[in-house]
Amino acid sequence: MTAADDQPLLVAEGLSKWYGRQLGCRAVSLDLYQGEVLAIVGESGSGKSTLLQLLSSQLEPSAGRVLYRMRDGVTRDLAQLGEAERRFLFRTDWGYVHQEPIRGLRMTVSAGANVGERLMAVGQRHYGNIRDTATDWLDRVEIDRSRIDDAPTTYSGGMRQRLQIARNLVTEPRLVFMDEPTGGLDVSVQARLLDLLRGLVADLGLAAIVVTHDLAVARLLSHRIMVMKDGETIESGLTDQVLDDPREPYTQLLVSSILPP
């Protein structure tokens, strides 16, 4: 373990967001290290999606800040980044997997172009190399390579989601944000996607922040869990500790509300 691994990749300090008088989230702090998967769980309206947008610099906080350790090892306040640096993060060092693949894909261009586009954004120009890498990534997310020239409009929901994941991971980001990545998919499709994600995250040593309302998803993917309610963190810790020994009344309610399979 090198000294850099002892520094968190991302730190949030006292993040709050108000939409006028409506609270998004309040005083949320967390840190995330390389290779760590954090699940943010809670019901609709608990503030978890607001938090994800704040952490990924898509929303400006009303208070607090987010620090990120850049590839050069220097930790920066995201609010202080220039536009070019911010773009670099979005195009290269971060991935963002939306619940609806439509929001993360370009639906009218081919699957290969969807993956290749991210590579071109980081300066790759050689068509053959880009196509080879895209093909390789289709394999990794278990999409038949004969579908490389088809547009995602012809894909099923599960395939679209896998394509979105390939598009995000092709630039080898260090941090991936995921907003309900298995939401809206059939159970069998979910299982395949979860298994795929679990393998990729472990193989690539990714750090990830996964927003989900599904505790089974959190159990399978994450090392740590943060439980949110009414915009605030009410409990956090090791995933199995929070799920097997929940301390707060609300967490106990969440855990006890799951039907055993």
Partner: protein, 232 residues
Amino acid sequence: MTAILEISGASKTFTMHLQGGMKLPVVASVELTVSPGECVVLGGPSGAGKSSILKMIFGSYRCDQGQILLRHHDAMVDVARAQPRQVIALRRHSIGYVTQFLRAVPRVAALDVVAEPLMMVGVARADARVKAGAMLSRLNVAERLWKLPPSTFSGGEQQRVNIARGFLAELPLLLLDEPTASLDAANRKIVVELIREKTLRGTAIVAIVHDDDVRAAIAHRIIDVTGFAAAA
């Protein structure tokens, strides 16, 4: 020899908020020290808190009071107060836990389930798989099953996959919760051999075993946990 595990004054109470805040005491003032190469079996009737103690050592259950010191590389770490990140590191390098049931991951082949802990500590996939195969063979899991996800296996087969996974990595402390519960006599004997080999190599073991023969064969000491009964 310096201890692998030193528990002192450890207590645990569940507060059931959905049952009007009812307090459910589990264990109180647990004292336990385990040295390298020692196999300690926790005794006592069902509900006495044996499994809870294992979960507290592993960090799945929080510990309200006292400390649970665990040897990690050259230092002692208090699991009761460790940060999640430290506990994750402990589980990778210093402590293993074999439960009665396999938490099956969809679609992952039995061979990879077993090989995973080795890969987590940096063993190459091919090497880890060879070792995993050898362990599965030893536990009589037929080779035709290795490529299949264990969720469809019988209870006994799943348990053997779980044991193979738990025993493959060389960790200083191993927690076993009824590792032989659904095994036949021949496989029970193999698990007893595996446990003996582990302790001979210096691994410390804390186990829960209801089978009298197995307990007699592996236990260096039996600790009756009814002595740690929490006052209700």
